[in-house]
Symmetry: C2
Subunit: 206 residues, 2 copies
């Protein structure tokens, strides 16, 4: 056993709890006192283990991205699923909360990308980078779709990637507006209808 007084709370657990409350309440509306009660760790302990509020937020952001945000996006790029199905999965990935109980609704990144106009430049940049990362994942998938014939060559895949990156915000916003899960799924189906009819079948292009 280590030397001094034993830890009451594993810093990793604390970070996870911090992520959840930051996800739920956002950066501005979460105080250090909130983080203290959410984590069960006293303030000096938080600073010693996780740093100041900005650092905690950034660590929470990374944790979210690694454990929650990135997987569906990586699947999007790597999975052999057909285009439309992989996009469906990716978009539904924004709705963790409503299905898997307990988790906050919407996307942590999107939710905090608003109301950040005067945020610390570091945080602003970190959020923008993650948004770009998601957009690029879509782009990558569309490039593959193009070469594999899932999309006509004439497609403006850059615009398509921007569009789908934006759908994360669309879905998050309507989730916060109180739509039910099935309504949100219908929204997503509408988004998917911007794609050409499922098997594009050769050169049907106009």
């Amino acid at each position: 056993m280590p030397r001094g007084r034993p830890r009451k709370i594993d810093p990793n657990d604390a970070l996870k709890a911090a992520m959840n409350i930051l996800w739920e309440r956002g950066y501005d509306r979460t105080s250090m006192a909130d983080l203290v009660s959410a984590t069960g760790m006293a303030k000096p302990g938080l600073y010693a283990n996780l740093g100041d509020k900005d650092e905690i937020f950034q660590k929470a952001l990374r944790l979210y991205q690694e454990e929650i945000g990135a997987p569906p996006i990586n699947d999007l790029v790597t999975s052999p699923e057909p285009l439309k199905q992989s996009l469906r999965t990716a978009l539904r990935g924004v709705l963790h909360a409503k299905e898997g109980s307990g988790l906050p609704e919407g996307c942590f990144i999107v939710n905090n990308s608003f109301a950040c106009s005067a945020q610390s430049q570091q945080l602003k940049q970190a959020l923008q980078d993650l948004n770009v990362e998601r957009r690029d994942a879509f782009l990558l998938r569309f490039r593959r779709a193009e070469t594999e014939g899932e999309l006509p060559d004439s497609t403006d895949i850059k615009a398509l990637a921007d569009f789908f990156a934006g759908q994360a915000a669309a879905v998050s916003s309507m989730a916060q507006a109180g739509l039910s899960l099935t309504e949100l799924h219908k929204m997503i189906e509408v988004s998917l209808s911007v794609l050409p009819e499922d098997p594009p079948r050769g050169g049907a292009q106009g």
Copy 2:
């Protein structure tokens, strides 16, 4: 002339200035001190003329809706333009800032609908109501489109309305992510492609 010391600042001008900074920075990141310097009106004057911070925000919200938010939505419902064109106009209406100089980017309502999980119930409700209002305007337009044959009867116009209401957030978010105006317009064109092809002519673009 009235009795006492003359006003330095017209309360209407102050409200307009307050709206702009609240739009730009959001509720949480705008302090009363910010409102003081933005309006040029000292704090006690603000309270006397516009009320406390919540009241000012609500008044700003109403002003935004009346002067900026509602017009393109009303046009959507009332104008005789064909469906797709009226939707295009409505969605582009979210991008005031980038075209008409000076105005903040994105939609005031959308920008503040995030990070409000613990906001005062009043404000939360006011924001939700405005979001619903917009969604209903889309719905109204789609109902008309259905009866006028602009949409097939089989269309799920409720889902379509949710989708387009969500596009306000999509566009706002990508605007904040730094997309150019033409990129944003392309995004909007992609959104519009969920509609059934009207008489096959060349794609409109701006």
